[in-house]
Amino acid sequence: MSGATTALGVGRPPIARDEAKGLLGEALAMSAADATLAVLESRDESLTRFANNEIHQNVTGLRHTLTVQAIVGRRSGIASTSRLDSSALRQVADRALALARLSPEDDALPEPAPPAETPEIAGFVPATAACTPEERADAVGPVLDQAAAHGMNAAGALSTSAATLAVASTGGVFAWHADTYARFTCTVRGADSSGWCDRHRRDWRALDVAALGATALEKAERSRAPAEVPPGRYTVVLEAAAAAELVAFLALLGLGAQSEQEGRSFLSGKIGERITGESVDLVDDAFDPRGFGRPFDYEGTPRRRVALIERGIARGVVHDRRTARKAGVASTGHATPPPAVEGPLPFDLVLATGDQGLDQIIAGVERGILVTRFWYNRVVDARRTIVTGMTRDGTFLIEGGRLAGGVRNLRFNESVLDVLARAEAIGRDAEPTYFDYLGNTVVVPALRVRDFHFTGVTRF
């Protein structure tokens, strides 16, 4: 049995490089397929969760997913397991092969990735991997006390994790990467108001939990007794977290080559055309130091920086080996975990920053609304990039360039590309947001957008 006894507080990756090489080599050696790809993803994650000013849930877990793709001629089968003992490796190798033999031929099946030099990304912070439950409790404790002292109610989570991704193939590929991730998120609620903070870093010590908690508390204080403003078009200031929620949808709606090739993407047939405002530059860049990029994908292909939108013009999409083969180009290193049913996706979106601080952006609004975060955003119209969602936890009226008080939360319906086209000001400071349900990171600044369309209001 390997890799299962990561000691809490030691600060090591869940699976060491040599250990991963040994495990994947063992799995590959057990496969009788023509070609075999093996992927091992491991995560040692701890999360201290609080609500009502006390810690109410507190968890840790070490999980592995070993996936084997067996290729026989033009047939492919995939099997995965959470176990890493030899009998599990044997079972998963045999099962992948059996599935491959049962599969019909797939003419579009790409050749496995060739071995390649993988760039390094320094993503592992031992202090994050070593963070203890006592340290997490000590960090959040003052936030809870502070909220209680103000008659408010704090809820949120401080999480720390260490992860590894390793990819190997019978074609000679071996790549391994270790990284860490930490997040503090907190909602402070009053009788009729709430405020929120959220920060994502590789080093948990850089989260500045106390200051973030104070920000959430201040927002809750300042948004007391919210007024109701009618639905309509408003100039909005979207804080970075709110802007990230919208930009993240572009990844799902068509920045991957599969949806573009299938004609389902908002980019289908529009590469080279203007699709949004001239100030919009969007890239996928795993090497941006603000993000959480990994240097290779789930096929073992080194990741490339890809320009997606340049000065508002659609420039490209990200590829894996299947879509690259179809397009007659090289993979950009954006394969998702097998069987990659959604095709390649951008993992590390970065929107170019502007030159204004948040205070300047707000100061430029005569009458408008500041949005701390959006919530429950869903696609209304994929081709037109129309998304609906709600504001939440800190929605303010801006009057004369200043926050004039809280307002009841509003529902919006907006095209993401149109929102970017109507951006009048772009912040100079970008924040990373990691979306765990998408597995991708968006690094964006705050935006000021004119004529943002709110279509409804709720009761709080």
Partner: protein, 480 residues
């Protein structure tokens, strides 16, 4: 499995746990997808692991491991206790659990045909035939079909003496045809969107669905949607088909009735609820036509089991009776806080997650109308079918849904096809506008309900039938 759990419980007690439970879970999953007659996913997954939950000094700790061996069971138990002790330093009110007679029992999902015994070649053939049957028009860009099945073997043990074995099997599948032209993209699913329909049970569901037999109609509708008129904006009487009512129940009744949300446990992520305790027994949630139960004993539901993940036996409880809000989904920790005992709704995504209050089967009791009679009685309005988008605020008041297809109701008959249908409202106002529920009841599966930090995905169900809602705001999201 049993020995691992016992080892964990012993060590937890020695380490100071006043209460501990251990779940050892062995799981497997099979997913097959075909797109444009080509297999795009042929994947099997398996898992085995242990999760240990403990109460120390009135606070929770939890540790899990994918290595199901005695040493890991001991490590998890000790670690969970250490974590609980850290939690206890910032605990204002010690956690107490509602009383529970420790259960010893077994449960197994009834399945006429175990989905894992169906030859893979048969599944692939079914999906290829389904995909091929969608190719009715050059405008069909993507024709995809899938089947998905899960099995969980769960062993639960607690320091109170509970010892429970369960085998849960879920099966389902569906198809979706995407049509495109130069300006638009439309799609139509069968029998439901986002992967199809899922039930607790075996392959008999997939056989009953007859995917190939419904492919052409779905594809023709997708193509017709490209040139269909836009759903009008304004106030209309609306009939929602059963699958859309199912999601409406899920979002606007199921979630707000979760007592952990009500008590603020999910305030930072999933949100809270407008169904606060002072409303229990008094709030007019809906019209007299609205009766909702949480029924973990209902046949075929994804929320059907023998015992929840705290060892509480499956139950059927009223949530809304004749329109009045009368009940919550509860757990052993939350129920005592409002003077109740758990009604057995705690489930965890895997061995690596703690159990949370999750919807079981949230069922709208059927009415007596046939859908055709309901359309005839409505006269003028819009019929909407099959969810395409869904969004609701964090207290579950303001929602907006979109559907794949809609039809004008004119002169009491189903008329022209409409595209891009959306509707919006405020939950209690909306359900108070429900004046008729049809008899076309089905227990619809939702395989992807998200909640918790770390986020957990759960399979839940909602029994629903077509229903009519008067004077609903329609057509939001498009235009001015």
């Amino acid at each position: 499995m049993r020995e691992l759990a016992e080892r964990a419980l012993n060590v937890a007690q020695l380490a100071g746990a006043a209460y501990a439970d251990a779940r050892v879970i062995e799981s497997r999953e099979q997913f097959v997808e075909v797109k444009n007659q080509r297999p795009t996913a042929l994947k099997e997954s398996s898992g085995l692991g242990l999760g240990v939950r403990v109460l120390v000094d009135g606070a929770w700790g939890f540790a899990a491991s994918a290595a199901a061996d005695p040493a890991e069971a001991e490590r998890c138990a000790r670690l969970a206790c250490r974590i609980a002790a850290a939690s206890a330093r910032f605990r204002r009110v010690p956690i107490t659990l509602s009383a529970l007679a420790p259960a010893t029992g077994r449960y197994e999902t009834p399945a006429a045909r175990d989905p894992f015994t169906v030859p893979l070649a048969d599944k692939i053939d079914l999906l290829i035939r389904t995909s091929a049957a969608c190719r009715v028009d050059p405008a069909i860009a993507v024709a995809q079909a899938q089947v998905h099945c899960w099995e969980e073997r769960k062993h639960f043990a607690s320091t109170e003496g509970a010892r429970i074995e369960q085998r849960i099997v879920h099966t389902g599948g569906g198809l979706c045809a995407y049509a495109r032209d130069a300006n638009d993209l439309q799609w139509r699913s069968y029998p439901n969107s986002f992967g199809g329909h899922f039930e607790a049970g075996g392959w008999e569901l997939v056989e009953r669905l007859d995917l190939p037999g419904h492919a052409a109609e779905a594809a023709h509708t997708a193509v017709a949607l490209l040139s269909a008129p836009q759903c009008p904006a304004g106030e209309f009487d609306v009939i929602l088909d059963g699958s859309q009512v199912s999601l409406q129940i899920h979002e606007s009744c199921g979630h707000p009735a979760e007592l952990d949300r009500v008590l603020g446990h999910e305030a930072n992520f999933a949100g809270t609820s407008f169904l606060t305790p002072e409303h229990l027994g008094t709030l007019r949630y809906g019209s007299e036509a609205v009766n909702l139960v949480a029924d973990a004993t209902a046949p075929r539901g994804l929320g059907t089991f023998g015992f929840d993940d705290e060892g509480v036996p499956a139950q059927k409880v009223d949530l809304v009776r004749a329109g009045r809000f009368v009940g919550y989904l509860t757990s052993r920790e939350t129920a005592p806080l409002i003077g109740l005992a758990s009604n057995g709704t705690m489930r965890a995504e895997s061995f690596g997650h703690i159990p949370l209050i999750r919807m079981t089967n949230i069922n709208l009791e059927p009415g007596v109308w046939t859908l055709n009679d309901l359309i005839a009685d409505t006269g003028e309005g819009i019929l909407m079918a099959t969810n395409r988008s869904w969004s609701i605020d964090d207290r579950r008041y303001n929602f907006q849904f979109g559907t794949e297809a809609g039809w004008e109701i004119k002169g009491g008959k189903r008329g022209r096809l409409l595209k891009n249908c959306t509707y919006t409202g405020i939950t209690p106002e909306f359900w108070n506008r429900c004046d008729a529920v049809a008899d076309d009841w089905e227990i619809w599966g939702t395989p992807n309900c998200g909640k918790g930090q770390p986020s957990q995905s759960m399979r839940t169900a909602q029994g629903a039938a077509s229903a009519r809602f008067r004077g609903i705001t329609v057509g939001v999201g498009y235009g001015a």
